[in-house]
């Protein structure tokens, strides 16, 4: 059974929205996808067998030093809204 409420919930988490036919189609697709994903629920596997500890790599963090940063004009080059040397967006509160 297609779960339209679940689609609304996931869309909200994902900053997306679906209406009408698109929502119906997405619900149908997700039903099929979750059927495939559910096959792993049958696997008998535990953290005792495979501890999910962090793997090596922390020692590879680079030194915390000031590095040259991107020029402001480059950082703004692809922004749609610009005001002086800032990115302009819709106001967040009245």
């Amino acid at each position: 059974m297609k779960d339209l409420a679940l689609i609304d919930h996931l869309a909200s988490l994902s900053r997306l929205s679906f209406e009408g036919e698109e929502k119906e189609r997405m619900a149908k697709d997700m039903e099929s996808i979750m059927k495939l994903m559910d096959t792993i629920t049958e696997v008998d596997i535990s953290e005792e067998d495979y501890p999910l500890t962090a793997e090596g790599g922390m020692e590879l963090l680079r030194e915390d030093e000031v590095q040259p940063s991107m020029p402001v004009e480059d950082a703004l080059a692809n922004a749609k809204g610009k005001l002086y040397h800032f990115i302009a967006v819709q106001k967040l509160m009245d």
């Binding site: 679940l6 689609i7 996931l10 869309a11 988490l13 994902s14 900053r15 997306l16 929205s17 997405m26 697709d29 997700m30 099929s32 996808i33 979750m34 059927k35 495939l36 994903m37 559910d38 096959t39 792993i40 629920t41 696997v43 596997i45 535990s46 953290e47 067998d49 495979y50 999910l52 790599g57 590879l60 963090l61 680079r62 991107m70 480059d74 950082a75 080059a77 692809n78 922004a79 749609k80 809204g81 990115i87 967006v89 819709q90 106001k91 967040l92």
Partner: protein
């Protein structure tokens, strides 16, 4: 002179010997693209400044400072940032995005004097296996233009196969270099995770993504791999590695090749099975030792891969808000409404499906059952590889269960396409290197690929095995290359 059939080594010799100039080689490919690409549609963007790069390369050659790729014409997958050259990820979201910096791989290649002839088509955000989810339309397979080129690096493989660049870069998250290489009859390497910096690669699933070469041969891939490999302070997962090009031609006698039985069972096309079995016999004739091995968890690899990959994608793609770059909707009366409208308009259906799946796997109440379990399976699959590598040097499998399929022949059910990744995803899950090289053709004349999987950082060994096989393989050229 059929320059498009020549190897990088042969072109290097022609360029260094003064038989051709970098400008002439670049013009040769620009002419081929103009003439042939309308039928293939491998390119999203052709680089208008390619000739300027060629002039710089020619100067390097004349000054005696040529590197292995100086003046060599490359195509770049359109999810790899190239400074000043549009990088769209084949998405409406990034349709007009022009990076202000180079990815590390592009920087390395530019320093070596390679020429970027253009940006290659792909599945949107590298999510797909047919290059049919691109916002910019389909790429066609040069062996049959009614068939898909595979994906997500479909443009990268089709361009090499049709002779529209010397070699190309792709990216591989679950098979996206190897599967299109197999479909288009070329060689593609997914390097060991960490060998190539991901800095400047538009992130899909950061623990699985890796940039790699696609070429006409393993030797061409080796040259390109050496140019892009190396530790990078911009990517903490990158590691130093040994050059591989000098390993080509080493004896393969005595190499123990594991053949996992699960890869030859139900669902494998009979022609592909026969071609791979013939390749196994060929390796045996070369003095390799063939050993049957097992990977019991293969049946769970697809859900484990899609849960991990989609979870990471849902997080990585949260950055597309239309503020700093990318598409910005004109709809919506508030910041949040415009953000949602931007993402609704900017992303295609497959990207939205993956984001939803990722959000589901990471959400409260489902995390343990899906995301955590997928990561436990990831450990188990790695362990199964480690077991095999205790007695084998490498593993040989088919790259795909079927050859390139015709457009429109897959059902609307997205899982049908997901299941076709069965032979490639475990390599990404385990972070291992794998090369796909042609090993036959179907009765319709479509290429068949086999994959050789190696131990971590044994990229040179598997490329050398592919090279040994390629020397004995009878290639069939497609109409675009004749």
């Amino acid at each position: 002179m059929n320059l498009h059939l020549k190897s990088i080594k042969e072109l290097r010799s022609l360029l260094d010997g003064g038989d051709i100039t970098a400008q002439e080689l670049t013009q040769y490919y620009l002419d081929r693209i103009e003439k042939l690409d309308p039928a293939i549609h491998a390119y999203i963007t052709v680089n208008e400044k390619a000739m300027e790069q060629a002039e710089r390369a020619q100067k390097m050659i004349e000054e005696g400072c040529a590197k292995p790729l100086t003046g060599i014409v490359l195509g770049i997958k359109d999810n790899i940032c190239t400074k000043g050259l549009r990088t769209t990820c084949a998405s409406h979201m990034l349709e007009d995005f022009v990076p202000t910096y180079n990815s590390t791989v592009a920087e390395k290649l530019a320093e070596d004097g390679a020429i970027f002839i253009g940006k290659l088509n792909m599945d949107e955000f590298a999510m797909g296996a047919s290059t049919t989810t691109s916002y910019f339309g389909n790429t066609c397979n040069p062996y049959d233009t009614d068939c898909v080129p595979g994906g997500s690096s479909g443009g990268s493989a089709a361009a090499v196969a049709a002779g529209l660049c010397v070699a190309s870069l792709g990216s591989d998250t679950g098979g996206s270099i190897r599967q299109p290489a197999a479909f288009c009859g070329v060689t593609g390497l997914k390097p060991t995770y960490g060998r190539v910096s991901r800095s400047g690669l538009v992130a899909f699933a950061s623990s699985l993504d890796q940039i790699g070469p696609i070429g006409k041969s393993a030797r061409d891939c080796a040259v390109l791999l050496d140019a892009i490999s190396g530790e990078d302070p911009m990517d903490m997962t990158s590691r130093p590695s040994e050059p591989v090009a000098e390993m080509m031609g080493a004896p393969v006698e005595g190499t123990v090749i594991g053949v996992p039985k699960e890869f030859f069972g139900e669902g494998l096309n009979e022609e592909i099975k026969a071609a791979v079995e013939n390749a196994i016999k060929e390796f045996e004739a070369m003095g390799c030792v063939i050993k049957e091995v097992s990977m019991p968890s293969l049946k769970y690899a697809i859900p484990a891969y899609y849960l991990i990959g989609s979870a990471e994608a849902s997080s990585n793609l949260a950055r597309y808000d239309g503020v700093r770059y990318g598409h910005l909707s004109k709809e919506g009366n508030s910041f949040d409404e415009r953000l949602i409208a931007t993402r609704n308009e900017g992303f295609g259906s497959e990207v939205k499906r993956r984001i939803l799946l990722g959000s589901y796997a990471l959400s409260s109440g489902y995390f343990d059952a899906y995301y955590k379990k997928a990561n436990l399976l990831r450990r188990r699959i790695r362990q199964e590889y480690e077991e095999i590598f205790k007695t084998c040097d490498c593993i040989l499998t088919p790259t795909t269960p079927e050859a390139a399929f015709k457009f429109g022949t897959k059902s609307e059910d997205p899982t049908e396409m997901y299941l076709a990744d069965i032979y490639t995803v475990t390599v990404n899950i385990a972070g291992l290197p794998a090369v796909s090289t042609p090993c036959g053709y179907t009765k319709e004349g479509l290429p068949i690929g086999m994959s050789i999987v190696g131990k971590a950082f044994a990229d040179g060994q598997i490329l050398n095995l592919a090279d040994a096989f390629e020397k004995k393989f009878n290639y069939i050229l497609n109409d675009f290359c004749l």
